[in-house]
Structures are given as C-alpha cells and as structure tokens.
Amino acid sequence: MFELEFMRLAFATGAIVGVLAPAVGFFLVQRRMSLIGDGIGHVAFAGVAVGYLLGISPVATALAASLAGAIAIEWLRSRRRTAGDQALALVFYTGIAAGVVLISAAGALNVDLFAFLFGSILTVTRDDLILVAALGGLGLATIMLLYRALAAVALDEEGARVAGVPIGALNIVVAALAALTISLSMRIVGILLIAALMVLPVIAATRLAWSMRSTLLLGMAIGLASVLGGLTISYYADIPPGGTVVLLAAASFVVTSTLQTVRLR
C-alpha cells in the first residue's frame, strides 16, 4: 500500500497525530476533563464551515475556531465559576449549531464534509503533512518543555495555586494544545472521533502503567499503534479510518484491562 502516495502521506500524518493526541489527552484525563476534546471538536466543525463559506483553508479556520472555543471553555470554567460540564455544554452546542447553519449557508453538505467529520485517508495532502509536522512538533515540544508544570497542576491545582504557579496560563496552554491537536487530526480521524483518540489510549495506559510518566509514554505508544493499525485496516477493508482507529484504541482498553486483571491475580 505504500506505493500509493496518499497512503504514505496518511501514515506520516497519522503517526504524528497518533503520538500527539494522547500526549495532550493525558493532561485532560488527569484533570477529569476528558470530554473537552468533544466540545472543541464541535467548535472546529463551525470553523470548517467558515472555511467553506469564505473559500479559504478549512484547517486554518478550524484551528482558529478551536482555539477560541478552548479558551472560552477555560475562561468560563475558571473566571465565571461556571461548572466545567456547563461551560462545555455551552461551547459544545453553540459550536455544532453554528456549524450546521454555516455549512448549510455555504452549500457544502456533501462528501467533503463527511471526510472532515469521520476522517479520510484520501484527503491528506503534502501541504497538510508539512502543517501537521510543524505544528504537531511544536505541540510535542511544548509538552516536553512544560511537562513538570502541567503534571504538577494536574496533580494538585489548589496547592500549585497557593505556591504561585501560574495556573491560568498553564490551563490556557492545555486548552490551546487540545485545539491544535483537534485541528491537525481531523483529516485522519475526523472531528467527531478525535476526542476519543486523545482519551482512550490514556485510559488504556492507566491500567498497566506504574507512574505518571509511564502512563503518558504508554498512552502515546497505544495511540500510535491504533492510528497505524487503523489506517492499515481502513485501506484493506475500505472503511473510514476514523472509526477504525478509535475502535482499535477502545480494544486496547479491553486488552490492558485484561492484562491488569491477570497481573493482579
């Protein structure tokens, strides 16, 4: 299958996404905000619609909309004392409603849209790969640089606030990383399923890991394996890659849970 350029592009892009998504999702899961990816994904949908409407890159507009949505969720949660799930619901439903209205206005209720919603290995271009490699690398570098700070906030936000750690700025960084990941991953996994790739590998890793750091690394490995395996199955079975990738990630949870049970016996 690698004689086909679109598969080479899909695998290269998928490898970056497979590592980046769980790395960002790790911090969402630890802060018990696993569903934030879903909320931002729906805002990204509105961004794609704006791209179609204005005739510019849907990836760029999705990134802008996702960043705005992520920061809005964090702002609502922290400054206005809105409960996390209510902040999420506000942004979540506003995003999907705006997306439906805008996409209809753009007359783009077609097959292209389905590629964004559920992922497609046919749509990844060389320009997409360059963008994903550059921004994905930036995202991973940010996580490496700020790992200790982000982990400390996840571990004990109140204690970190008392000690003067810049909680607000670090929470915005996590929200921005989530927005970046969703925008970069929607070509491969699709807007509706990307949140699952951020969260499921981490939940699966938690079953076998022995430390925070090992949870992160194991989650990234499971994410990578899920994407590469999912793309391969998707190619041979001619099925959408998003669903296949996420089903593999979900299956990894079953496997690690079983291994955990065996280990504890």
Binding site: A152, E158, G159, A163, G164, P166, W210, S211
Partner: protein
C-alpha cells in the same frame, strides 16, 4: 521579625451573604506550631483559605509577613495540603513524582528537573521516611504513608508556612500519632510555621504550643492545657 500570619477584624461571606467567619483577630509568630480546630462547617477551612490568599476578605485584612495575603509576593514559601479527597489524579503517581511536583516553584516551570533540585526532592522524601517507597504508586501505600508523601511534597518547596487541612482524614489512630510526631520533628528541625487544621486535635495536642478553636469566629485561643475540660470533646465546641 514581622508576624508570619496576621488576621485583623476579618470577616468573610460567600455569595449567599451569611458570614462564615466574622470579627477574627489572630497573630501567628514565625516558627509557631498551632492547631486550628472546631466543628465541621465552623469556618476552619475558609479561614485557612483567607490566610493563604485564596479568598478575599469581606471585611478586615489577612496579612502574610506584613503583605496582603491575596497579593503575597513570596508564594513559593507557602505549603498547603488540601483535604486528601481533593488530591490525586487517575494515573498511578509515584511518591517521587508527587514530591517533585512540590519542587516546581523552586526549580522553575521549564525543562527537566536539574540535579540540585532532584537532590532536594530526595532529601524531602528522606525527611518523611519514605526512601524505600519512592518509586511506588501512592495507591499502594497506606493512608498515613500517603499523607507523609504529601508533606514531603510541601517540604520540597522549602516552605516558611505549612498549612495542613484535615491531614488525618481516613488515617488510623496509630498513623495519626506518627504523623503528629513527624510534624513535631519537622517543626523543631526546620523552624517552619505550621497551622494544623482539623475537626479534632487529640493527635497533636501534646506537640502544639497553641490551640485555636473556630466556630464562626475564634472562641478559644491559648495553650491546650488552658482549654476547659468540656471542650476536649469536639462535640462540645457547639456551645
């Protein structure tokens, strides 16, 4: 030497408007070890949140080393152990990872932990006697050991003020006694100011220099030995 903690005619009410604490005056000298006790819902935790600058007083002032607590410039010197239920993440976390998180305010936010700071983490772990458990996940430790790990986390930041909120929740009597002895030793070795907040104070009664009873305000402030006998039972603090 400036006073470590000073509360001046302090009152606080949440949005509902009903005061949680009112008219509180309190001075804590640097290096004091104080138990802050009282019934659940009496305002102890709120008072500590005001001390730490996490809440803004409705009336009065909360000062840390002479500065308003909400704008205290040396926050890295404050150690806070929230109630245990508020700590923890879903991933397995080792003792060393917990303690290293406490060192963040000294080491800076970026990059890996340097050798000097890694050494400080190991020293904090040794101070609470968890060297052999350093690589074990917290979930595999007893309640008392977990609390010692969180104390080491606070110590890693080399604090001047240590506030512990209900540190003995879910900890058996023997571990409570061990925890009190540990705090007494740390207090003597490090001269750190300690505010030990709990709905009961039996475990630390013999170690603290001063006992403060809180029920909407301060209803007793003095040496534990001066406390009227009837109030030794926390149930009677409702008088």
């Amino acid at each position: 030497m400036p006073i470590a903690v000073e509360l001046r005619n302090l009152s606080f009410a949440y949005d509902s408007g009903t005061p949680v604490v009112s008219g509180v005056d309190l001075c804590v000298a640097p290096g004091e070890f104080i138990a802050v006790a009282g019934p659940n819902g009496g305002g102890k935790t709120t008072l500590m949140r005001l001390v730490l600058g996490l809440e803004r007083p409705t009336h009065g002032e909360a000062l840390l080393w002479g500065e308003p607590a909400t704008h205290f410039s040396r926050r890295a010197t404050l150690g806070y152990l929230a109630q245990r239920s508020q700590l923890g993440v879903d991933a397995p976390v080792t003792v060393r990872e917990v303690v290293a998180a406490g060192r963040l305010v000294r080491s800076g936010l970026f990059g890996p932990l340097g050798a000097r700071h890694a050494l400080a983490v190991e020293e904090a772990i040794a101070r609470v006697g968890l060297e052999t458990e350093a690589d074990r996940p917290l979930t595999q430790l007893s309640g008392g050991q977990q609390q010692r790990a969180f104390i080491a986390k606070a110590l890693a930041a080399e604090p001047l003020l240590l506030v512990l909120d209900e540190p003995t929740t879910g900890v058996d009597a023997e571990a409570q006694e061990a925890l009190a002895q540990l705090l007494d030793r740390l207090h003597r070795e490090l001269q750190v100011t300690i505010l030990y907040v709990s709905h009961e104070f039996g475990a630390v009664e013999h170690f603290v220099e001063r006992l403060v009873l809180v029920r909407g305000g301060i209803i007793f402030d003095g040496a534990p030995g001066d406390l009227p006998a009837v109030w030794h039972d926390p149930a009677h603090v409702h008088v």
